[in-house]
Subunit: 316 residues, 2 copies
C-alpha cells in the first residue's frame, strides 16, 4: 500500500490523507490500521479538555512550543463534536496555532463528527494510532466541552489535563459532567484574572473530598496568552508519565484498551452478521412484528434469535 509506505517515510501529506481515511471509514481503513499497528504504542497521548472559552487552544499552542523546546515531535488532534449546521468551527483554532505551521515536527488536525458522535471517539482513537506510527513523540488531543463524547475520547489518552478558568462556576459544571474523576492534572488558566487563587483552592478542596489514590492531580496555574506557567504544566506532564511507567499503570491501561478494541471488533462483526443472516430469513421482521404488537417482549425475541444462532452448525 503506497500510503503506508509514504506514511512511514515521514510524508506529512500521507499523514493527512491517512487521517482522512479513518474519518471516512471503509475497508481501506482497516488495511491501513492493520499495517501500521506494529509501530504503535510509543507516543505519550495527552488529552486536554475543559469548557469552551477556557483558552485550551492557546494553551495547546504554548505547550507545543514547550514540547518542541524539549526535543519532542508533536501531533495535535482538535476534536470538535460540531453540529452539521456549523462545520469547520475549529478553523479559528487552527489559525491560532499557525505559529507552528512551518515546523515540520508539528502536525495539527481538527476532527469533526460528520454526523455520529460515537464515530468521533473511534476516529480519534484511530488517528492517534496513525500519529503514533508516524513517529510523533507526544500527541495532544484537545476536546471542546465536557460531554460524553469528550469522556469517550479521554478514555483513549494516557494523561488528561482539565483546564478551568476563574469565574463561570466551572468547578461545579466539571464535577457534574464527570470530568473531575478523569483529571490527572488541573490547569487553572487565565491565572492572571481575579479569582484564580480561589479556584485553585476550590479544586484542592474537591480533591480532599474525593478518594485518594497514589497520584494526586497537581493544580498548575497558567496564562496561556503569555505562556506563564506552561513550563510547570510540562513538568507536571513528565511527572505523570514517570508515575504511569513506574507504577505499571501505563502498561495496564494500554492492555485494557487493546482488549476493549479487539472485543469491539468482534462484536461489531457479529452484529453485522446477525443482521444480514436474520434479514435473509425474514426472521427478524417476523419477531419484530410480534414485539411491536406486544405479543412477545424484547427478551423473548432476543432469546429466539440467540437460539437460532446457537442451533446453527455454523452461523457465519
Amino acid at each position: 500500500m503506497d500510503l503506508v509506505f509514504e506514511l512511514l517515510n515521514g510524508n506529512t501529506r500521507a499523514l493527512a490523507r491517512a487521517i482522512s481515511l479513518v474519518e471516512n471509514g471503509g475497508v481501506e481503513k482497516e488495511a491501513l490500521l492493520g499495517s501500521i499497528f506494529h509501530l504503535t504504542g510509543k507516543a505519550m497521548v495527552v488529552g486536554i479538555t475543559g469548557s469552551p472559552g477556557a483558552g485550551k487552544s492557546s494553551l495547546v499552542d504554548k505547550l507545543i512550543g514547550e514540547l518542541r523546546a524539549n526535543g519532542a515531535s508533536v501531533g495535535v488532534l482538535a476534536v470538535d463534536p460540531t453540529s452539521p449546521f456549523t462545520g469547520g468551527a475549529l478553523l479559528g483554532d487552527r489559525i491560532r496555532m499557525q505559529e507552528h505551521v512551518l515546523d515540520k515536527d508539528v502536525f495539527i488536525r481538527s476532527m469533526g463528527t460528520r454526523g455520529s458522535l460515537g464515530g468521533l471517539a473511534r476516529a480519534t482513537r484511530e488517528a492517534i494510532k496513525i500519529l503514533d506510527a508516524f513517529g510523533k513523540d507526544v500527541i495532544l488531543v484537545e476536546t471542546v466541552g465536557v460531554g460524553q463524547s469528550e469522556l469517550d475520547v479521554m478514555h483513549t489518552v494516557d494523561t488528561t489535563v482539565v483546564v478551568l478558568t476563574p469565574g463561570a462556576g466551572d468547578v461545579v459544571q466539571t464535577m457534574k459532567a464527570g470530568i473531575m474523576e478523569i483529571a490527572d492534572i488541573f490547569a487553572v488558566n487565565k491565572a492572571d484574572m481575579e479569582g484564580a487563587d480561589r479556584l485553585a483552592v476550590e479544586i484542592e478542596n474537591m480533591l480532599d473530598l474525593g478518594q485518594s489514590g497514589p497520584w494526586r492531580p497537581p493544580v498548575v496555574k497558567t496564562v496561556s496568552l503569555t505562556g506563564q506557567g506552561v513550563g510547570d504544566l510540562y513538568q507536571a506532564l513528565t511527572k505523570h508519565w514517570a508515575y504511569l511507567r513506574e507504577s505499571g499503570l501505563l502498561e495496564k491501561k494500554r492492555e485494557q484498551r487493546l482488549r476493549g478494541e479487539v472485543f469491539d471488533l468482534v462484536v461489531e462483526e457479529l452484529r453485522q452478521e446477525i443482521d444480514s443472516r436474520l434479514e435473509n430469513k425474514g426472521m427478524m421482521d417476523e419477531l419484530l412484528a410480534r414485539v411491536i404488537s406486544r405479543e412477545i417482549n424484547p427478551y423473548v425475541a432476543a432469546d429466539r434469535i440467540l437460539s437460532e444462532l446457537r442451533g446453527a452448525r455454523k452461523y457465519g
Copy 2:
C-alpha cells in the same frame, strides 16, 4: 411477581421500587420488564433539555400543572449525569416540584448515573417503560446539560423540547452539542429578560439554514417562574403529537427503537458468552498477549476469535 401486581394496581410505592430495580440492574429487572412490556407503548414521552440554569425544572413544574389541567396523568424523570463527588444534586429540583407532591397522578423521580453514563440512558429507557405500563399519559424526561448521555436519552423520547435562555451564547453551545438537530420544539425561557426576542430570531435564522422537513420546530416564549407561555408550549406539544401520529412517524420511530432494543439484548448476551467462552480456553489472553507484543494486530485477533466461534458446532 408481587411487584408487578402492585405496580399494575396503581401502587405508587411499587412504582418507586420498580424504578430502583432497573437502576440497580440484575436478573429481577429482566423479569419485571418482560412482564410489563405488553402494557407499554401508550404514553407520550417528552424530553426536555438545555443548559444548566435555563430554568428547565420550573418549566417542567409549570408544564405538569398544564398537563394536569388537561386531564393527563404525568410521570417525571429528572436525569442527571452527576459525578460521584456530588450525589443527590437534583434534590433542589425535586423540592421545587413539590407543588405536585400531594397529587397522586404526578410521579417525580430523579435518576443518577451510579458510575456509568451509558447505563443511565438504559435505566432511563427502562424507567419510561415502567411509567408507561403504570398508566401515565405523559412522561417528561428532564436532562441536565447537553452531552452525549443527554443525546442518548433524547433518542428514546417522542418529542424533544430544547430550552434556551437569552444571553450566554446558548445557541452556539447548543449547535455544537448537536442538540439543534434533535429539537422538535424550542422554548425561549426567561422570555421577560432582555434579548429574548433576539434569541428567538437567532433560532429562526438557524432553522432557515438547516434542512427543511415537514415539521418545522416552533419557537415558544415562556417565563417558567410565572407560567407565562406554558399554555403555548402545551399547544405546541399536542400539535407535534398529532403530526407524529398522522405522518406515521410515531409508529416508525417506535418500531426502530424496539428493533434497536432487541438487537442490543442479543449483542449484549453474545458479548458475555464470548467473554466467558474465550476466557475458559485462555484463548483471549493468548491472543491479547500477541496483540500487546505487536506480533499480530487487533484485526487479526478479532478474526481468530470469530473463526473459533464459527468453527464451533454450537458456540453457546
